[in-house]
């Protein structure tokens, strides 16, 4: 009789042996699938990780830039007419802002974003300089002549930043198209823009311009308009009183300044008042 037990054992071995190729194929295919899926997932994660910091940093840069521009705008509105040093600082800041914008437009690299972040210390410096009152009136006109074009750029740029709610990238073309014009053209263009948006910074600029050109009546009018829009701007009160002095209305100027000093305690207004009273400013 057959030894069925031995045959069964041999059959079992045969079955196990016959399943080995299928098992290896199945296992290897599973391993391949797992490896491929891991590889694909890692690729996706890499893409995300490489993209996300750029986007974040870009957003940060945009936020920082907007902040700096806004602070600059407010400071520019608040500040008194620039001294020699202040103008120099303005020059540097004005020069730096386009740099940041240009950097953003050129690329999103981290190094460049860091460079744009370094702009903030210059603003601090500006603040410091703002508090220090300096004798500037004698040198003002000469320096203003030199920095006229720079101021125009600054005002234009601030205008762009304030009026745009979208990203900074959209502002680039406007900044690139900035062109220097003569004073009359500048005033006309700015008057048009002022009529559109009633920005006190623009009306103050116009007042200053007319003052520089010797059109004191117009300068006084625009200074008054600025005061009506925003009565806290030192520069506009100063321009208006200076224009009154030039229009031979010294008493009215002194009275106006005194009232303003009572409300605002402005140091620059006090200096001007002293100069008018003492006759230094005529």
């Amino acid at each position: 009789m057959l030894n069925t037990r031995d045959l069964e054992e041999r059959w079992l071995k045969y079955k196990i042996k016959s399943y080995i190729p299928y098992a290896t194929i199945a296992l290897s295919s599973i391993v391949i699938i797992i490896v491929v899926s891991i590889f694909l997932n890692s690729n996706k994660v890499e893409k995300k990780t490489t993209l996300s910091p750029e986007i974040k940093v870009e957003k940060e840069v945009q936020q920082v830039k907007i902040k700096t521009i806004l602070t600059k705008a407010t400071e520019a509105i608040e500040k008194t007419p620039p001294t020699k040093e202040a103008i120099q600082i303005q020059k540097t800041t004005v020069e730096e802002v386009p740099k940041t914008i240009a950097i953003v437009s050129q690329g999103n690299s981290i190094k460049r974003q860091e460079a744009s972040l370094k702009l903030s210390p210059s603003l601090d410096f500006m603040k410091k300089m703002q508090h220090s009152s300096l004798p500037y009136y004698q040198e003002e006109s000469a320096i203003e002549q030199e920095s006229r074009s720079q101021i125009v750029e600054e005002v234009e740029e601030l205008e762009i930043e304030e009026n745009t709610d979208t990203t900074v990238v959209e502002e680039e073309p406007k900044k690139i198209t900035i062109q220097r014009r003569d004073s009359a053209d500048d005033i006309r263009g700015i008057i048009k823009r002022f009529k559109k948006n009633n920005n006190p910074a623009l009306s103050l600029f116009i007042a200053k311009k007319y003052y520089e050109l010797g059109e004191y009546h117009k300068a006084y009018n625009y200074a008054l308009i600025t005061n009506e829009i925003n009565s806290d701007i030192d520069a506009s009160w100063i321009v208006s009183t200076k224009s009154l002095v030039k229009l031979n209305q010294k008493d009215m100027a002194i009275q106006t300044l005194k009232q303003y000093i009572e409300d605002s305690h402005s140091s620059s207004a006090k200096i001007l008042l002293d100069e008018i009273i003492s006759g230094k400013f005529r």
Partner: protein, 270 residues
């Protein structure tokens, strides 16, 4: 099912050449009829060839039994390798001439020439590939005299060699090839064989699925199938004796047992 049924079923597949065990299959029947018709034709030689286990010997045996009642027919299933012995046996069986000493080809041809047999006798030579080339050449010369008709069987490879010899090819007027069974033929073969021996329960156990499994292992070769099924029923009877049949079932042939029998017969190298 009692163990005697498995033993009977096992014995059905004993590898013996018996014309009574011949199973009529459609394709095989057609070939067989063609062979019988060829015998009636004035052909010098008929070649029956095929792979081992395709039923050549069974074919020849069946032919011998069918023809022996109507005409002079002699079958030599075991090759007669000695040339003198070959002539002597032919002289004795066909021409009833006893020869005590050595009988060479010339002497045998004289006996053939002097014979007064009315009908041409048929000589069936199985396993012709075992004959020497010289003897095969003599057989060819004898068949040329048209006094004896030869039906020879040989393996396919040897037949190819034989046919390659041009002088021999011209004398073979009929060649019949036998092939392995198909799936369907194998099922019929197994079931007919079992039913012929009244093993109906065993025959019903062979479903198409199990026959396909057997076909996969044997490639439809009759001899291998007989061997496998012999081992299969041997295993079944052993299981029956050990009261283990419930574990494999009796409604249909277990694939496990088919594989076990294939391992046992060497069809699977485990």
């Amino acid at each position: 099912m009692s163990s005697s049924i498995y033993i009977n079923s096992k014995n059905v597949f004993l590898d013996t050449v018996n014309s009574k065990d011949y199973i009529q299959l459609d394709r095989v029947s057609t070939i067989y009829q063609a062979l019988k018709d060829s015998i009636k034709k004035p052909l010098k030689m008929i070649l029956l060839y095929g792979k081992p286990g395709t039923g050549k010997s069974m074919f020849l045996t069946k032919l011998y039994h069918d023809l022996s009642s109507s005409q002079i027919v002699h079958i030599y299933q075991t090759p007669i390798l000695d040339e003198s012995e070959f002539y002597k046996i032919l002289a004795q069986d066909i021409f009833s001439t006893k020869y005590s000493g050595e009988l060479n080809f010339t002497q045998f041809m004289k006996i053939v020439a002097n014979s007064d047999i009315s009908s041409i006798p048929v000589v069936l030579l199985d396993e012709a590939q075992l004959y020497s080339d010289a003897l095969m050449e003599k057989i060819r010369l004898i068949s040329d005299t048209r006094t004896i008709k030869f039906v020879i069987t040989l393996h396919k490879t040897e037949k190819e060699d034989l046919i390659a010899k041009e002088h021999f090819q011209t004398r073979i007027w009929e060649t019949i090839e036998l092939e392995n069974a198909s799936n369907a033929e194998l099922k019929i073969y197994i079931q007919k064989k079992l039913m012929k021996a009244n093993c109906f329960d065993s025959a019903n156990m062979f479903t198409t699925k199990s026959v396909n499994k057997i076909f996969k292992l044997t490639n439809g070769n009759y001899r291998d199938t007989n061997k496998l099924l012999y081992a299969l029923f041997d295993i079944y009877s052993a299981y029956d004796t050990n009261h283990q049949l419930s574990s494999v079932g009796t409604t249909h042939v277990s694939n496990k047992l088919i594989e076990m029998s294939a391992i046992h017969t060497g069809l699977i190298n485990a």
